[in-house]
């Protein structure tokens, strides 16, 4: 599937870049904390005070080097990290003023090197040798591949898509992260010496082949599709998987995507916000997010919720879709009102009941499912990795699976809670170092 780079210019980034002047002023607000809470809150452990200091002294290359050393996807994370929950949320200046805009500062450094030169990264002193295969060219795969390449390994990355980057390339709306940012990062990894094998689906037979050819294999295949609603009518044309829709905005001319005037988005997480704001930009006049609970229980970050509201997205709480209607295309969605049967209203575990006689019909032109993602378990099953509770079983520290030499990283670990790019990158780094140690042990 090819990509449509020109869409970047039609879906311009919502958050404007800081000017150099703004960046220096913001950088000077940083106290340069020692053993800084922001760094500790960053899953990849970026030395944030140091990269900010480099910005204050006008060494943007040094700033980007500091970022990339810890997080090879620093440009993506500068844009899409939930900074309020991570670095900025723990900034000491929250207590005496307001947080330093770490994410936007990171973007200043990364934008600079995207436009100028990619810095050489610090050398690891203890290098290894060997060959590692990485399945999946998304954040976890790239994190693993970059680290392994820097550690001296020959790395082959395989991905079913024609373009690497995974979620960053296909699953993030362009007005949050332009496609060229993800492509830049793939290029950075490629220049570290990583070889990409694209458009290749890895089945069990091919996996065994790779396992035999390589000293270790990293599986980083991410999550699957958005699950079905399991209601009548959801196979009608006009019903979208939110991630498929986003992928279309990155692989097709926007004019070819027609959602009509009235769009209903099912679910109230961060992907639902992406889908809803995407629908607005694709021309839908009325976009509603339908959620069977209320805002106290939704999983979207508060700034995402604000973003959706500012985009004119309407929220309908306590609303459960029960049927999608239409003769040859979606025409309406039938919903029922819900309420918590017992327990805490804000808990997603509290049981719900349908309010009798509350059914109503909403005329809509499209429906977008955004109710999470299925776990990607087919490969695990095919290769016979030990599973438990629908998740692959891994070592707590090394993420080694039950199959010798095979490691898991990123969202395909199936961890509960919000999946983030930054955590996936860290998983990849962790697995890379674990492989390095294991191979070094074997060699000695």
């Amino acid at each position: 599937m090819s990509i449509e780079l020109t869409n970047d210019s039609q879906l311009t980034e919502v958050v404007p870049p800081l000017t150099r002047r703004e960046a220096v002023e913001e950088a000077l607000r940083c106290y340069y904390c020692y053993d800084a809470p922001c760094t500790k809150a960053c899953p990849t452990g970026i030395d944030i005070p140091m990269f900010i200091r480099h910005i204050a002294t006008d060494d943007l290359v040094g700033s980007a080097r500091t970022i990339l050393h810890s997080n090879i996807l620093g440009a993506t994370c500068a844009r899409i990290c939930p900074t309020e929950a991570l670095c900025e949320g723990s900034c000491v200046r929250v207590k005496d003023s307001h947080a330093v805009s770490i994410g936007r500062l990171q973007r200043v450094a990364m934008d600079y090197v995207m436009a100028h030169e990619v810095p050489t990264l610090p050398r690891f002193t203890d290098l290894g040798s060997g060959r590692v295969a990485v399945i999946g060219a998304g954040p976890a795969g790239l994190g693993a591949a970059a680290t392994l390449a820097r550690l001296g390994y020959a790395v082959d990355v395989y991905d079913r898509h024609d373009v690497a980057g995974g979620l960053d390339t296909y699953g993030i709306v362009s007005y949050r992260e332009p496609l060229n940012v993800s492509l830049f990062e793939v290029d950075v990894v490629r220049k570290l010496g990583v070889t990409f094998h694209l458009g290749e689906v890895i089945d069990a037979a091919r996996f065994r082949q790779l396992r035999e050819q390589a000293d270790a294999v990293v599986v980083a295949v991410g999550l699957g599709r958005v699950p079905k609603l399991e209601i009548p009518g959801e196979d009608l044309p006009g019903v979208y998987d939110a991630l498929d829709l986003i992928e279309q905005t990155k692989t097709r001319p926007l004019a070819e995507i027609n959602l009509g005037r009235r769009v209903a988005v099912i679910g109230a997480g961060n992907t639902a916000v992406d889908a809803a704001t995407c629908a607005r930009r694709l021309g839908a006049e009325e976009v509603s997010i339908l959620y069977r609970r209320d805002e106290s229980a939704m999983s979207a970050y508060s700034y995402e919720y604000e973003f959706a509201k500012q985009d004119g997205v309407a929220y309908r709480w306590w609303t459960l879709p029960v049927e999608i209607l239409g003769s040859s295309h979606v025409e309406a969605i039938r919903c029922v009102r819900t309420r918590v049967a017992e327990g805490d209203v804000s808990s997603r575990q509290s049981p719900l009941i349908r309010v009798s006689g509350s059914e109503f019909l909403m005329p809509v032109t499209s429906v977008i499912r955004a109710i999470g993602q299925e776990k990607e378990i087919s490969l695990w099953q095919a290769i016979g990795a030990e599973m438990h509770d629908g998740r692959v079983v891994v070592d707590d520290v090394t993420y080694a699976t039950s199959i010798p030499g095979v490691y898991a990283a990123g969202d395909c670990l199936g961890r509960p809670g919000e999946a983030t790019v930054v955590q996936a990158v860290e998983d990849g780094k962790r697995v890379a170092h674990a492989i390095h140690q294991a191979l070094a042990r074997q060699a000695s």
Binding site: C33, A36, R93
Partner: protein, 419 residues
Amino acid sequence: MADLSINFAGIQSPNPFWLASGPLTNTGYQVMKAFDEGWGGAVWKTVGDPIINVGSRLGSLDYGGRRMMGLNNIELISDRPIEDNLREIAEVKRKYPHHAVIVSMMFEAKPAVWAEMVKRVEDTGADAIELNFGCPHGMSERGMGSVVGQVPEYTEAMTRYAVDVASIPVIVKLTPNVTDIRVPGRAAVAGGAQALSLINTINSVIGVDLDTWRPIPDVDGRGSHGGYCGPAVKPIALHMLSSLYNDQTVGLPLCGIGGIETWRDAVEFMLLGAGALQVCTAAMHYGFRMVRDLTEGLNDYLDERHIARVEDLIGQAAPKVGDWNDLRLSTSFQMVARIHSESCIGCNLCHIACDDGAHQCIGRIPGQIAPVVREEDCVGCNLCSLVCPVPGCIEMVPVEKGPVETWRQHEARLQQQQA
């Protein structure tokens, strides 16, 4: 309203704030505009035989995003004809009879020249003369400015040239580019000066352009050392001011100069002995209007403390600045840092500063935001409280450890024991 007026060596001024001799007192236009804004007086840019200047002339030391924490200049004295200066001085004095107009002068070491020039300056109605023995660049290479201030004999002789013929007060402006400011100060006293002003600018090279590798300020690829001033020089000025104030043989009114930007600076200068104040860099930076913060702030400060006259501040803190040998030793008296954990934001700057740059006595406790001082190891150096970004979070607490004993007393006691 407190009384801000001063009588400095017989010079009356509605407030203690004078513009220092410099680019901002080059013309009658500027000085009259400054008086309209609220300045109490002005020291006219140094009058002398007209010179030819160079460009560029100024360089800035910026810090933390702020401009001109320090300023350096290689501009010389007035480049205008003496007649023009004298005519405008007379005009200003006629229009502003209650403001202080002081004329800075710099001439070669010839008594006849001084006799003539002092007379001509007095004819303008100016309130006083300030002898510029301080400029460290350009003029010093021609036997004037700081080259006079650096040689006590020259200072005394040149002061006498002026004093002998003057009927108005003569203020000698001192250069800080000496080892001990008291020596030229005493020389000026010996020469008959009625007051001293200090400090003039400090020898400096402000910087190098990282792209061109040319010095700043850049005069067609070359530079020269210049005079350094601005907020960064204030501590140097305060030291020299207090050491002259405390010198028994000086005993003259002192006009404080050097980095005064706010009313707070003004209070400090006066507490350490200044009877009048001169401002240059700050007014060059923000314009004459900034004087309103100086006068209002100073007035409010005095009112809050029920101090009737600004002159009541003069020298109040100076006796407390003295010889290190008269300070209580740490065996007798100690300060210790105390971290108020409830206001700590967890930046750990106190910890790393103490660990790397001081005495390794601030530790961290796992699971706790605020670091902890091991008071028995704390030497009371202040560093932690200085780096802490939260005002009041780290308090320095005095601890009595024994009978009062200074180094001088300690030495005396040891000698007594030996005897």
